[in-house]
Structures are given as structure tokens and as C-alpha cells.
Amino acid sequence: MSSAPGEAFQGNAPGGISGNVLEVRDLSVEYLLERGTVLAVDEVSFDLAAGEFIGIVGESGCGKSTLLFAIAQLLVPPAEITGGSVIFKGRNMVGLTDRELAAVRWKDLSVVMQSAMNALNPVKSIGAQFDDAMRAHGVTSKAQIADRSAEVLRMVSIDPIHLKSYPHQLSGGMRQRSMIAMAMLFTPDLVIMDEPTSALDVVAQRSLMVQIKELQEELGFAIIFVTHDMSLVSHFSDRLMVMYGGVVAEFGATRRVFDTPLHPYSVGLLEAFPSIRGPRVPLTGIPGSPPNLASIPPGCRFAPRCPKVMARCEVEPPPLYEVDGTLVRCFLYAGEEPGK
């Protein structure tokens, strides 16, 4: 950020008082369907410090994408936030009008979606789409727009010549990188990423992850990164949240969760993918299927698939316990302190 136009787009310093960019409290999201409600996210709470990288992992249908959409206020009916708050830079995002949200989006908070092919407009050049976002936030000088657009593309190692390219002319990796460049236009405080690498192959995926991490270290924004592939974030995130059936199953420092997973579901997830190194061992995955969130069982949601299930798990939902700084929702740790 040395050049003059760059400085004009620096975001404000994050929420002064607590140092947290984002505070999510007891957030619940329900899908209100004709045949009943589906509780997709059930009282999820967490804080995100400025410049922190949180990974959220879980199977499809565990509520991780719904949680992201709720944080970004992108939910559309029948999904609805039915409780809790999302405090972004000291301001509750829940209940803001579209106009108020539009002022925040791109500028302070950007979202990078799973499929860049669908997120980018196929009939507009990359440059025109950057132009759109910047004009919407009051940047009208053509020179400024051109400078900044070229600058963010260079940040993600794409030649600015591609501002004139249309999405179909770029490779999958370049499309995802230009989405990330677009998210950087105003140097936001928080970037929300929903499986941005899942359409890429392994080399491009690795390269993109390294690039995201480097940008983050350089520009200091916070990241919430949702993925179903736990191994992907293992080297990049500071903290890791494992979600299961709409609730937090385990939440702690990434390395800790990988080295000593506490929740039987985390253990199962870690054992579910084959390793490229070390001995070749038969794996079983996690038998059974994720819970039906339209009819939540009275006890622990993982109980039907859990290898360590106890009588208590079937009748009573476990609270979060705190074990050496890691939050875990399992009665195996019933002796420990209750977590917040």
C-alpha cells in the first residue's frame, strides 16, 4: 500500500474498543418451510479478532454456509435469522436495511463465493465489474478506478491486461483470484470466503491458499473461511470451528484441533481422508448420515453416528465444555468447565 490511490481505499481501523472485528452472539437461523421449520444454525457464538483467520469446517448440511450468509446478511427467505446478533465493528448487522448494508458491503466486508464462474457476470469484463463496485461506493474518477483495479489484480498475480478479459477467457484459478482481487478493492476489515478453492485442482488450490494468506498478512484483514475439506485450512487458519448439525462441535486453535481432536466427530473427520504420506491404512469414514435438521433428536446430534455414545447422549443435548482453551460439545468432557 505505498501508492497514493491505494491509501484512499484503506478501510477504517477495526472497531476500536474491543479489538474484535466481529462478535457473533447466539446466532440462530431457521428455514421456515411449509412442512415446518428447519433449524440450520443453532445459537452459534464466536469472536473474530482483527486480522484473524478462522476456518469453519463440516459436512454439507451442517449449517456452515448458512452461518456465513447470516453473518453477511445475505440470507433470503425462507431462511431467517430468528435470534442472536452479529456485531460487525461495533454495529449490529441484524436488521439493517439494504441501503445501510450496501454501504458496508465491499467496503468493510467482502464475500468471496464458491463458484467464481457464477459470481462473476459473464457478459461484463472483469474491469467493468470492478468499476461497478467502485462507483457504487462513490469512486467516480476514471483514473482512480483504473489505477486501483490494476493494483488489486497485480496483488493476486494477474496481469492487469486481463481487466479487459471476460470471465470465460480466464482459467478457473484466475477467475477465483480476480474475485479475491475484487474483494480487496477497498481493503475490507473482514473477508468471508465460502469454499473459494473447491472448484480448483490441488496445485491451483495450494497456490491460491498461499496467496490469500500472504495478502492477509500484508493487509491485515480478518478471514472467515468455510470449507468441507479440513486439511485445506490446516496450515492457514488460526482457529478452527467444527460444525455439526447446526451447532459448534469443537472450536479451538487449529493446530490443537488437528493434533488432539476432542470431539468424536472431529476425530472421525480427521480419519476420513487418506494421507499421502505415512503407512497406507484402511479407513472407515464416518458411517451414517448427517442429522435431519427438521426433526432434531432430543440428545446429542452426533449420537447416532458416534462410536463413543453413552446413555446420556441420547436424551440430553450436551453443552459446550472448555478443555484447555478448546470448546467442545461432548459429555466425554462433562467434568470440565462449562464453556461460554
Binding site: Q205, M230, S234, R255, P274, S275
Partner: protein, 369 residues
């Protein structure tokens, strides 16, 4: 599995009588020579597929999707074909499925050239022997029909000798074989009532109902959750062991290839980069591209640390390629020769070959770690 052994001889007999006259003669000689030699089920020789691209009127460019691709698939084995998107691995599957015609080269199935398989009945029989399982379990089923619909139609088309009752029994048998139980009940469900993993099992059941010799599985698990994938990989190994089928497992996930495959082919830009027994190739990768692939696999068990590679994973240009190694632009070891001569596949270690001028049998040539 009650029938395969018993039904094999009559089926082969039917095959011969049904052959078009022009194809019968070369086929027989091929079969005998093959049976004497290796137990190759399917083999390709210098298989090449090019696509003309450009505007409708002036197709002046040629995209080399698959070039000079030779492989052998034996009986009861899982071969993994790994490579990044755009490497031509799906084109290979479509060539083997007889959905594309090769530009040059030939495919031999049980010793018989594929180009000689003509006529509706012969092609149908080949498709029954070599069915495909598709990548996307959400798009490959008709949502308005129960899952029994697809498998019943397959059976009616490919095995017309079965009565309605037998078709039903056969459908239940293969559903049970792929772990969809109770089979009678699952058959009556609609696709939307099944999870992604279950749908992909239906895909395998449908293939299995044809009593195939070789299943072409194009990225069968890439759309599934990590926790579900292993179940499907185990199913593939199980089908090889109990049903005696071979599987061509196409994937970009080299760790899953390691988990199930007996042999591994690493493809890059339409060429085979490296091939050999899976464990051998992965423990001693000789081609720089294989080394790059391996270094990019996220492994939570490995120590924390951001790698220093600068490679951006950009796919190679295969439009009107000049001679020379197609990986040379990304290869830190490239020498002058790589820019002029396309490296042939050389056997460096027993059964382990790589197409690289620089690669040696010893470990000195390490481009990526």
C-alpha cells in the same frame, strides 16, 4: 455373486455370433495372442484425440487433448488416472467409452479394436462391458423418476433375456452389493430422497447391473463430502475384490488414488507424465510434475508452515503445441533439450516410467518437495 462364472461362456459365444462379419476375423487373432500374453482387459496404443477450435468457418487451431497415450488395464485392477483440470483425463474416459472417436491410435478391448465394434448391438454390448459412472450425482439422475426406473431400463436394454421378475431381483442384488439396503425400499425412492453418497452408489449399482468388465469412473467422489468419500472408495475396492471388475478411477485427488489404486497414471497436458505401481510412484516420484502435485497436497499431519512454491497451478497451453516437454514452462529443472524434443515415456525403475529428459532412476532430480 452367483452368476458371473456360470454365465461367462455362453455370453462370449453370443458375442462372436453377433459380430459383424468384417470385424470377426481380426478380432479372433487378437484374442488368441492376447490370452497367450498378458491378461490385458483393455489397452490403448498411441491414442490421440485432437479438437479443432476457432470460429465456425475457420477452424485453424487444434487443441491436443490427448496425445500418444498408451495404457494397459488388466483384470481385477483399479487404475487411477490423475491430473489437473484440462489435462485430458476425462477425454481419455470418453474415448474409452466410445463417446469420442480417436483422431489416431487404437483402443483394444479384450484384444478387439474398438473401431471394429460397429452396429447397435455390438456397441450396446461394449457399453455394457465398459459402463461409466459420472461425476455429479445430483445431475446424473432424472429427478421425476424413482431410482428403480434407471436401473430397470438399463437391464431391459442390455440384458433383454431377463424377465420382469428377474430384472427386479437383479436390481435388488446389485443395490445390496453396493450397500444400499434394504434394496427393495431404496429402489422405490426418488433421487432427491437420497444423499449424494447414496446417489453415487446408485450410479455404481447401475453400472454393476450390466455385469461390466471395466467401470469408467470419472471423478466419482469429488462432489461428495470428505466423510462420505471413503465409503465410496472402499466400495470401489470391494467391487474389484468381490465382483471382479476393473475400474479406471479418474481423479485430481492423488491421496485418494493412493488409497484405492493398484497402479497410477499421472497425466499432464494430454501426455502421460509418469506411471507405475501407485505406492512406487508416490514414494519415489521421478517426474517434476508428480513432485509438484505431491507437494501441493494439503496434509494436516505434516508440520505447519507455508510452502515456498511460486507455481500458480496455471493449466498448460495445448493449442497447437510446439514439440518439447509441455511441462517445461513450469519446470525448474528444464534443460535445452526439453524445449525441442518431446520426452518419451522411459522405464526408469521396474514398471515405473516417466516422460522426462532430466529424470533419473536415483533421487537426484528433485524439483519440488
Amino acid at each position: 455373486m452367483t452368476e458371473p462364472a456360470a454365465s461367462q461362456p455362453p455370453r462370449a459365444a453370443i458375442r462372436d455370433t453377433a459380430l459383424p462379419a468384417d470385424a470377426a476375423a481380426p478380432a479372433e487373432s487378437e484374442v488368441s495372442s492376447d490370452q497367450a500374453g498378458t491378461a490385458a482387459l483393455l489397452r490403448t496404443e498411441n491414442l490421440t484425440r485432437h479438437f479443432k477450435i476457432g470460429s465456425a468457418l475457420s477452424k485453424k487451431h487444434t487443441l491436443h487433448a490427448v496425445d500418444d497415450f498408451s495404457l494397459t488395464i488388466g483384470e481385477h485392477e483399479i487404475i487411477a488416472l490423475a491430473g489437473e483440470s484440462g489435462s485430458g483425463k476425462s477425454t481419455v474416459a470418453r474415448l474409452l467409452a466410445k463417446l469420442y472417436k480417436p483422431t489416431s491410435g487404437e483402443i483394444y478391448f479384450q484384444g478387439r479394436p474398438l473401431s471394429a465394434i460397429r452396429g447397435r448391438r455390438a456397441v450396446l454390448r461394449y457399453r455394457g462391458d465398459v459402463p461409466m459412472v459420472f461425476q455429479d450425482p445430483f445431475a446424473s439422475f432424472n429427478p421425476v423418476f424413482r431410482v428403480s426406473h434407471g436401473i430397470m431400463r438399463c437391464l431391459k436394454l442390455h440384458r433383454p433375456e431377463l424377465s420382469a421378475q428377474q430384472r427386479r431381483e437383479e436390481a435388488e442384488r446389485v443395490f445390496t452389493a453396493v450397500g444400499l439396503t434394504p434394496a427393495a425400499e431404496v429402489l422405490e425412492r426418488f433421487p432427491h430422497e437420497l444423499s449424494g453418497g447414496q446417489r453415487q452408489r446408485v450410479g455404481f449399482a447401475q453400472a454393476l447391473a450390466l455385469r461390466p468388465k471395466l467401470i469408467l469412473a470419472d471423478e466419482p467422489v469429488s462432489m461428495l463430502d470428505v466423510s462420505i468419500r471413503i465409503g465410496l472408495l472402499n466400495l470401489m475396492a470391494d467391487l474389484r475384490d468381490t465382483q471382479g471388475v476393473s475400474i479406471l478411477y479418474i481423479t485430481h485427488d492423488i491421496a485418494s488414488a493412493r488409497y484405492v489404486a493398484d497402479r497410477l497414471i499421472v497425466m499432464y497436458a494430454g501426455h502421460i507424465a509418469e506411471t507405475g505401481p501407485t505406492e512406487e510412484v508416490l514414494s519415489r516420484p521421478r517426474h517434476p510434475y508428480t513432485q509438484l502435485l505431491l507437494s501441493a497436497v494439503p496434509d494436516p499431519r505434516a508440520p505447519l508452515g507455508v510452502g515456498a512454491e511460486t507455481d500458480q497451478g496455471e493449466p498448460p497451453k495445448v493449442i497447437d503445441p510446439a514439440p518439447g516437454c509441455r511441462f517445461r514452462w513450469r519446470c525448474p529443472l528444464a534443460i535445452d533439450e526439453c524445449h525441442q524434443v518431446t520426452p518419451p515415456l522411459r522405464e526408469l525403475l521396474p514398471e515405473h516410467s516417466a516422460a522426462c529428459h532430466v529424470a533419473r532412476a536415483d533421487a537426484e532430480t528433485q524439483a519440488f518437495r
